[in-house]
């Protein structure tokens, strides 16, 4: 029973991918993708219910006992990431019905998209290090194809940079796995915790920890490893860049959180100190980079980087409150960021471009879109009572609690600069009149396109407001998730069956 609950969120999108590929030249393919996303969401909610019921759950694939077989395991953090992945997937599947042209669908867009969701979900659920590498690759190859699908010089150029840097990071990660296996003799994460703690050469463990930090750091786009992100995220279809912005970097953050709470905790003073500085620089360079841009999606891309810093900061401070803030931030950010990219896509439909110098007048002619932009934008900047406020509040409070004044100062300063960027988008895209003198009204897009694209935007905005006004259950959930991360006894017991 348990194993089905764990397998379904991965299996459903894979089956949907196969079906969508077979019917890719048919309008049915679109419906398969949508139906698959709905089923994935139901499967992940079932997983969430099981985790809330029983705490950490684990399943051994093919009945090979841990640590020899591949384990799937879900604690609070994994479960919430799987649910949020399914929500983003469903929102994107609806949005794609409005945006993705038929020619791209015939190339297998929906199949690739479902494979991406399967890869991301697999990475969140696996309890085996080498299996994590395989899920990363599933996710990567799908993302490579999605990035360049549709062609064009810009996308190919962006694709080459993205592919090259991600492949290097994968190889660093892979050699880290090899070396860690050499030291501990296991690939099971729970078993590895003990293996690493008992290792003779702790210096070597720290070196390997740094390899993981670099490998996952590239995926998470932290300073100074983020250059592939602003080079590529503004080129693909909006549906694709939204799902990338929401999910892909977060897999890197999740992997960092998992490895640096479960396995690499032997030298916290060294590794997490580095993470603090990396996080602060990530936050600051991201937001400064955004200030220099005038393209809707380029500004948002740099903001991803800046926000990643807050999440890794939650991990780096390594107190219960900070990790709780990090987990909360992770969930809030995925919803908000995907939504902002969705808004950018609809703004382009109405106003004709994403360069802020060449659009305008959206507030007057599309007030609904303006209202729906304000919600995620101000949430991102941390305005109360939206979800971003609570996320930032937890992180800053955690920093003040351990007298890290400078960290708290930088967090608040970056929040201030985020407001600057958001008001820039607001002023240029929504308030100023359109430079070409046209009225960017919703009539400029076919009604079924507007409907398909507006639905997920409204849904995600509603979620932002709900989390903002009723943060209590989410904060409590994040607190339990943080407790489980800091004391992974339950995780280890669930995987190894309590008897080491």
């Amino acid at each position: 029973m348990t194993s089905w609950v764990l397998v379904m969120p991965i299996a459903v999108p894979f089956l949907a991918a196969v079906a969508a590929f077979l019917w890719r030249a048919n309008p049915a393919g679109r419906m398969i993708s949508l139906g698959g996303s709905v089923l994935t969401l139901m499967a992940s909610i079932a997983l969430m219910v099981a985790v809330l019921d029983e705490g950490v759950i684990a399943a051994q694939m093919s009945n090979w006992d841990a640590p020899f077989g591949i384990t799937l395991v879900a604690d609070y953090l994994s479960a919430v990431m799987v649910v949020i992945t399914a929500i983003t997937g469903l929102a994107t599947a609806i949005y794609a019905m409005g945006e993705i042209p038929e020619a791209t669908e015939r190339l297998g867009f929906h199949a690739l998209f479902q494979t991406l969701i399967a890869g991301v979900t697999g990475a969140f659920l696996t309890g085996d290090l080498f299996n994590l590498y395989v899920w990363f690759e599933v996710m990567l190859i799908a993302s490579f194809s999605l990035l360049v699908i549709g062609g064009g010089k810009e996308r190919l150029d962006a694709g080459i940079k993205y592919v090259a840097l991600n492949l290097v990071s994968t190889l660093i990660f892979l050699s880290g796995i090899g070396l860690l296996y050499g030291i501990t003799g296991t690939l099971n994460l729970a078993d590895m915790r003990e293996g690493v703690a008992n290792a003779e050469n702790q210096g070597l463990v720290t070196v390997i920890a740094m390899m993981f930090m670099v490998g996952f750091g590239v995926k998470a786009a932290v300073f100074p490893l983020f250059f592939w992100l602003p080079a590529s995220y503004h080129t693909p279809y909006f549906a694709i860049s939204a799902v990338f912005a929401g999910l892909l970097t977060k897999v890197g953050v999740y992997a960092l959180m998992r490895m640096f709470t479960l396995v690499f905790v032997g030298d916290v003073g060294f590794t997490h100190e580095i993470l603090i500085w990396v996080s602060l620089l990530t936050m600051f360079t991201g937001v400064i980079g955004a200030a220099a841009q005038t393209d809707f999606r380029k500004i948002l891309s740099f903001h991803i980087i800046s926000q990643i810093g807050y999440m890794t900061l939650g991990l780096a401070l390594f107190t219960p409150l900070a990790l709780m803030g990090g987990v909360f931030y992770l969930v809030h950010h995925i919803i908000v960021k995907a939504n902002l990219f969705f808004v950018a896509g609809l703004a382009k439909q109405y106003a004709g471009h994403t360069d802020l110098d060449r659009i305008g007048g959206l507030y007057k002619s599309a007030p609904l879109l303006a209202a729906l932009f304000i919600i995620p934008a101000f949430s991102l900047a941390g305005f109360p009572p939206l979800s971003g406020f609570w996320a930032k509040y937890l992180i800053v409070k955690a920093a003040l609690e351990i007298d890290a004044w400078f960290v708290a100062f930088v967090s608040l300063l970056v929040g201030l600069l985020t407001i600057y960027s958001m008001t820039k988008i607001w002023g240029l895209a929504f308030w100023k009149p359109h430079p070409d003198g046209i009225d960017p009204t919703p009539d400029r897009a076919p009604p079924q396109v507007t409907r398909a694209m507006l639905t997920p935007i409204a849904g995600l905005a509603a979620m932002t407001i709900i989390i903002g006004f009723f943060p209590e259950p989410f904060v409590q959930f994040a607190e339990t998730a943080a407790t489980q991360l800091l004391d992974p006894t339950a995780y280890v017991d669930a995987v190894l069956g309590g008897t080491p």
């Binding site: 395989v134 810009e154 940079k161 090899g178 296996y181």
Partner: protein
């Protein structure tokens, strides 16, 4: 044996870094191939080297007798090779399509996603 493998891995890595520092994207890709081989050798060596003890189960037995080589890293390397091969095939096709459309493999001239005039705005 370990020392020799370590030297081979080191040489491969050094050569791959040298190639990856080039502006030519094809050279970068060749560097990536060498690096992926170096990584595969690392995984292989991390399972410890045993000489002349194949991981085979004799006929009529349930488990191998005596000392055998560690079979797990071989399975890992095999997986990594297959995945690496797939990714390389994709990347080569991407590089070729990129060359066809951009007429260049010089990464300094690939400035279509981030045009230089952006900086002057």
């Amino acid at each position: 044996m370990e020392a020799l493998t370590a030297i081979v891995i080191g040489t491969l890595t050094a050569a791959s870094v040298y190639l990856m520092l080039a502006r030519n994207f094809m050279r970068f890709l060749f560097g990536l191939v060498l690096l992926s081989n170096a990584v595969n050798l690392t995984i292989f060596a991390s399972g410890r080297m045993t000489k002349g003890h194949p991981a085979l189960v004799p006929y009529g037995e349930d488990a191998p007798l005596g000392v055998v080589g560690n079979a797990l890293p071989q399975a890992l390397v095999l997986t990594a090779i297959v995945i690496g091969f797939g990714l390389l095939a994709f990347t080569l096709a991407l590089a070729f399509e990129g060359y066809r459309r951009m007429r260049s493999v010089d990464t300094d001239k690939m400035r279509f996603a981030e045009p230089k005039e952006d900086a002057q705005k």
